[in-house]
Amino acid sequence: MRPSTEVESRSSAFAADVLRNLLIYINQENAEGTDTFLVSHGWTNGPVMYLVYKAPPSAITWGLVRDTRESIIDPAPWPSLEVAVRYYYLLDLCENRVSASFPHPGNDPDVILWHGDQSYNDDPCEGLPQHSADIPDQYLYTHPPTSTQKALPTKSPPIIEPRRYADPNEPLPPEAHSPGR
């Protein structure tokens, strides 16, 4: 196998691994009852991963497209599959959630809003399906029935007292403080 072909093959395999493990990660997190993501389609094309999903309570259909050869944190390849999966989930999915009231920018809830390496805002997303119905059935993702029903060993989240912030120009109580003092 020629070197360039080997690299392409490795990149494609990595993308497939990322997608497969990301879907598992999403199911695990969904089962733990944190942020819920409902994936409808997922596929790879060479090193590029595509994920179509909804993030309730928003009704918007999102599309994530990522070239998995490069980290979304550092200008370098991902250090490991595990780290790649973790940060696609935490940054691309969780950090990018919108509220239920956020309107679809195109006022057409059926149009997929792509983000990641291609954005509906920056370019016409050429080559990307605009509706879920445009995606071949072979990319349809069905949630494994056992993952959401299996009782996972979850522990209660810690009870954390809310922080209270007040205008420092107002008279503040003696216990008001600044971190580091």
Partner: protein
């Protein structure tokens, strides 16, 4: 803690002008007020900041550090943000409008992670805005919640001895942002929240 480098020079803007204008408008009230201890060496830099591969950019500088209630020590490094990619202080500042690193100190030091897996810590902390006033001619001060509230999410990577951090320490804070739907939280566009100015301007009272 490493010595802080002076703010690096700004570089060209990859973001569109209208988005930069939105950020400017959303953070216009930030100057001049804040936690009672002003971070003198951590200044607001021109937008946007230089991303790597500029070798002179002080990505690994430690801006702040704090220890949570479980004893986890967390670093906030400067890192970088180029409008699409990045992490750390520069991303928190420029993408999410949190302009005072003392917010990081306060939230970490008064909370514990809701999740801890493979060196990755996740915190979710509620911040309630309060209004304080003098009572009985200044005899004491009373503070009441205004009803404004938001929740901050913090993602931290505490893995040590990694190849991508020259000093061998942890990468630290990856991101810190307000969850959508919180009072005053601006959803600039899909996938982009900014904290209201009072989060950075106000002082913790508990």
């Amino acid at each position: 803690m490493r010595t802080r480098s002076p703010p690096a020079r700004p570089h060209s803007a990859p973001l569109t002008r209208d988005i930069a204008a939105k950020i400017t408008a959303a953070t216009a009230e930030l100057n001049g007020r804040g936690f009672s201890e002003s971070p003198e060496t951590v200044q607001a830099l021109d937008f946007p900041l230089a991303p790597p591969p500029d070798p002179s950019y002080p990505v690994d500088d430690v801006i702040a550090e704090a220890t949570d209630l479980d004893g986890n020590h967390v670093l906030l490094r400067r890192d970088y943000y180029d409008g699409k990619r990045g992490f750390g202080w520069d991303k928190i500042f420029h993408k999410h409008g949190i302009t005072n690193p003392n917010v990081f100190n306060d939230l970490i030091s008064h909370s514990r992670p809701i999740s801890s897996k493979h060196g990755e810590l996740i915190y979710r902390v509620v911040i309630n805005r309060a209004h304080c006033s003098s009572q009985l001619g200044g005899l004491y001060t009373s503070c009441d919640d205004t009803g404004e509230s938001l929740e901050m999410m913090i993602v931290v990577d505490t893995t040590q001895n990694r190849w991508d951090v020259p000093d061998g320490g942890q990468k630290g804070v990856i991101t810190m942002y307000p969850l959508p739907g919180g009072d005053g939280v601006v959803e600039v566009q899909p996938n982009w929240t900014m904290a209201p100015p009072w989060v950075s301007n106000n002082a913790p009272i508990n």
